[in-house]
Amino acid sequence: MKSRFGLVALVALGMSLPFGLHAQDAPAEFKGTGKLVVNNWGGPIVERMHAAWYGDFAKATGIDVSFTSIPDVAKLKIMSQVGNVEWDVVDFEGAQMLQAMKNDLLEPIDYDLMYKLVPKEQLDPAQMTKYGIGSIAFGTIMAWNTESVGKKGPSSWTEFFDTATFKGRRALYARPKPTLEIMLMADGVAAKDVYPIDIDRAFKALEKFGPKVDLWVEKTSQWDVLIQNKEVDLMGSSLARTMAQIEKGEPMAISFNQSIMEQSYWTIPKGAPNVKDAQKLVAWMMRAEGQRASLKLLPYYSMANKAALDGIPKETLAKLPGAPENSANSLTINAGWWLEHDAEVQTRWLDWLSRR
């Protein structure tokens, strides 16, 4: 039971905070008796983080929470077709949420209920949509090995592909998103001008820069292995994975300049077994305390409650992608654009990949 561990961690954290967490203090309308199944991205780290985030929800409300993985729109579509939706809360990526919305698979978020627990002004309006509220934003950043590349690494994607200045092997995700964004920025497009993506220009840039990539990465878990074994020297890698390796002592450095953030959302599937309690959990997760606890555990993400950053030490804040100085020149994935152009881009991407 990972949630138990999380609870212990949370209690410990709670005691260290000036405004401690009070157990058993859920308002009456948050009480319940049901069971919730939360579909997240899985893995021990994610579950620990989520457990800290939910905090004492189960204790305070009487509603049980269990986990499953991995969020998948096609699966939800089929579950909904046969009338047997198994998930109550799903952590969808932006484009996934839009796809689910297009198929009419989601329940609107009950913001009135949420405001009873969380002050409206704490929440980031940019992360609030009708059918989902920001869970985390995860980042893809430039990272390099300080022993082989040096202390000073590339500060833009254009420099990232400058093989004369920065010698070494390079790795990127084997996916068009966010590779097309990276290619455009490498080609000199400013972060704010990337959307709408000029697909032809992006693929032209891919012809130019793509061959400089030695290794295309399929799974996020590969970054750990690649970093630990020094298989590559420069990478456009997962912020969370890279930071975790740096904390373990790997000689790596990162740059937040032109970093790419992708927003995920908490959503509630239409026809979920326990929509009412699911609304309660989603509201509960927006509390600053829980988000802060989970940030302290894994300070690599951006959160919907701005107050979560209060009381976070400066050195931790410097690592957070949501911190003002870090997000100044970052790019947020435009999920709407991807939903519209995914099919076309995917075909061209596979075509490019299979020609090599």
Partner: protein, 309 residues
Amino acid sequence: MTPFEASEPAGKSNRLLPDPPSVTLTAWQRQQRGLTVSLMALPVVAMVAVFVMPLLVLLWMSFGGGGKTGFSLQGYIDLAQPVYLKLLAFTLQLALLTTVLCALFAYPLAYLMVNVSSRFAAWMGVVLFITLWLSFLARTFAWIIILQRRGLVNNFLIGIGVIDSPLELVYNKLGAYIGMVHILLPFMVLTLIPAMKAIDPAYVRAGLSLGAGPARVFRDIYLPLSLPGLVAGSMLVFTLAFGFFITPAILGGGRAPTIVMAIRDQIQQLGNLQLAAATSMVLLVFCLGLLFLYDRIAGIDRIYDKGGK
């Protein structure tokens, strides 16, 4: 798969079912028939529910069933794009070469396991089974540790001075092949063993005592008798390799894209179930075509033969 059922030779009398009664059934025959029917009911229902139904649903989906647009050939029309044909061609090549390599490695291995002392063979069997039990993903990552630039192989070769700079053993097509062959090898060995065990050593001895050399005995006696196992193993490995995804995706480092990756994207990224179903149907047709080819060359019913008959 249905062809296996269909390949049951029609002429042979089935031992479970009594011959057609000439006059009346005896009580015992009636009882036997009742037992057969009741015993068969569950497997038949299970076959239909587990294999036939999903296949029909997939076929229905590939023509737009369950979608918004209604019946259409769009899934198949989309598939005719050159990129899918290219991916299909590469996947076929990957699966065929993997099958051939597996056969080449598995044959001597299985021969050894059948012919050495049973204790040693049991040990080899245990090793083989252990690799089967470990997860694909774990074994895939294990290969990375072995093959990468600072991996075991490269460190060893550099250490003894054979090479100066590391060989590119992984994150390319070579890496994909190594991983695939390793993961699928046990399937070939395990199908070869029973076929080889069933070969009566007397045939080999007879061939030798009649003056044929070992090579000739192998070519004219042993190989043909072990062919059913080789055919069954090849079909199993080919079918598995054709649908393989995660190992070539990781070990290939983006240089071994397979058609299954396209199916994955069609489902997860694009939500295009019709295209994904159509792609799956085309893969199925390819596998059936291969089965047909095998039938013409080797005879599929030989899979059910005991070697040495």
